[in-house]
Amino acid sequence: MKKNPITYPYILWMVIFTVVPLALILVYSVFTMDSSGIGFTLQHIKRVFEPLYLVVLLRSIRLAVVSTVICLVLGYPVAMILAERHLSKKSILIVLFVIPMWMNFLARTYAWMTLLEKNGLINTALGAIGLPAINILYTDNAVILGMVYNFLPFMVLPIYSVLRKIDSAVIEAAEDLGATPVTTFRRVIFPLSLPGVMSGITMVFMPAVTTFVISRLLGGGQYTLIGNLIEQQFLTTRDWGFGSSLSFILMIFILLTMGIMSRYEKDNEGGGLW
């Protein structure tokens, strides 16, 4: 087995700046600290599994899954088109893809409101050509739109970078052997791009579960999401024990799901996330 000294700086970094701090905060989930000393408790962890909070968790996961799927469906063709171009303009186009995300998030989301509002620009435009107004703002659709908008580049870029390098000889070979474009895509291109797709899914799904500002601003704060709940515990309620229990359980849950997913993938493709 090869030694990997090249990862040591990284592992050291992550242990100091991720594992240790996380341990510092997760301590709150099972220990209570008061004047009488330090005690062990499972009440916070138990509380996470109350139906009230499970509803919140499931809702967040559902929204994140839907957004991830839409990002993939919208993003994959874009990545393909961008990767196809035989120009030096390719890299410029890919930069153009992320620039909108460099503008402040809050300002961008406010701009979306200007577009989507009842008296917003989209409805004004629809009215001008005699079409009925649409009502998107303050629905789940607006939340999903916001998530897709903010996470799309995180899906497109990794897929693009993988597709760019797929040997055109492989594709031509498939076509020569009589494969239709659909078959070529299904049997050759897509499987080869799978590592990029997995990275994209990871980078969209994971942050999407815990985001909540989008749902607060575009969804009208109608529903508490898990990220919201966690933030509330750390700031408003000052219940760090419950807050860190929530994030702890969420962490375990998602890592396990990812683990199972990649195990399944490994059987089929080899490689994958783990």
């Binding site: 970094w13 701009a111 990794p158 390098k165 980078m203």
Partner: protein, 263 residues
């Protein structure tokens, strides 16, 4: 032909989707009213006010500085780490990958407060350096997740072939592996920069007095309404990035032409 047109239109649609809100930002930077709710005439006054706002200028400076340093450092460490992780097997790999997911997975508030606790615990005064360390930390996974797929694509024999031909492992990495995974590295850098330039929560909790980035300034403004000065600033940022891109693009195509002439 039809397919080509469809592709064109689809790309256009996606770019329109991405740029629609940016267009709104730009338009409202010229709005006379402080509210984005109605148009109240054309003005340049927000631009004038922007240049007199020392605080916004300072936070812009810190934002760019931190974003550049953090994404460069994260790209270097992250690319190396990705190569190492790629060579790992079994439990070792599982462990490292799960650590990698943590900053992506955790809500910003948890990452932010936990890092703040760490810095206080280690007695490091919060400020520029601590904010930078935090940014590098949450940037790293994005670099790794971008580089890993490229490595999986790689033909492992190339590396061995280079070694057989007498290259040292370092040279082999530099001359053989790196060029192959470059698109992934660039992608990783871009995503890291994107994360860094627009982070509020983690930055807020890890910075100290006197150092603030644009996101902190803008979020703090929200209670009183985001000042159109911010729209003016974002417009200027946007325009200068576009100009820079056009400049680079022109130079690149000129180089291409020169190469073509040579051949």
């Amino acid at each position: 032909m039809v397919i080509k047109l469809l592709k064109r239109m689809y790309t256009l649609f996606i770019f329109f989707f991405l740029y629609a809100p940016i267009l709104i930002l730009v338009i409202f930077s010229f709005n006379n009213s402080k509210s984005r709710a109605h148009w109240d005439g054309f003005t340049f006054k927000w631009y004038a006010e922007l240049f007199h706002d020392q605080q916004i200028m300072t936070s812009l400076y810190y934002t760019l500085l931190i974003a550049i340093i953090a994404s460069v450092v994260a790209t270097v460490i992250g690319t190396a780490a990705a190569i190492g992780i790629h060579n790992m097997r079994g439990i070792q790999k599982t462990f490292t990958m799960n650590i990698t997911y943590l900053p992506v997975l955790n809500p910003d508030i948890v990452t932010g407060i936990s890092l703040m606790l760490l810095f206080i615990f280690l007695n490091i005064p919060t400020g520029f350096i601590t904010m930078l360390l935090a940014h590098i930390t949450f940037n790293l996974p994005f670099v790794i997740l971008s580089v890993l797929p490229k490595l999986k694509q790689l033909n492992n024999q190339i590396f061995d072939a280079a070694l057989d031909l007498g290259a040292s492992p370092l040279t082999a990495y530099k001359k053989v592996i790196l060029p192959q995974i470059m698109p992934g590295v660039v992608t990783g850098f871009l995503l890291a920069f994107t994360m860094s330039i627009d982070d509020f929560v983690i930055s807020f909790f890890t910075t100290g007095s006197g150092v603030s980035n644009l996101a902190i300034t803008i979020y703090s403004m929200a209670r009183r309404g985001i000042n159109p000065k911010i729209n003016a600033l974002l417009t200027l940022m946007f325009v200068s990035i576009l100009l820079l891109l056009i400049l680079i693009n022109n130079r690149m195509s000129r180089e291409d032409e020169r190469k073509e002439k040579l051949t």
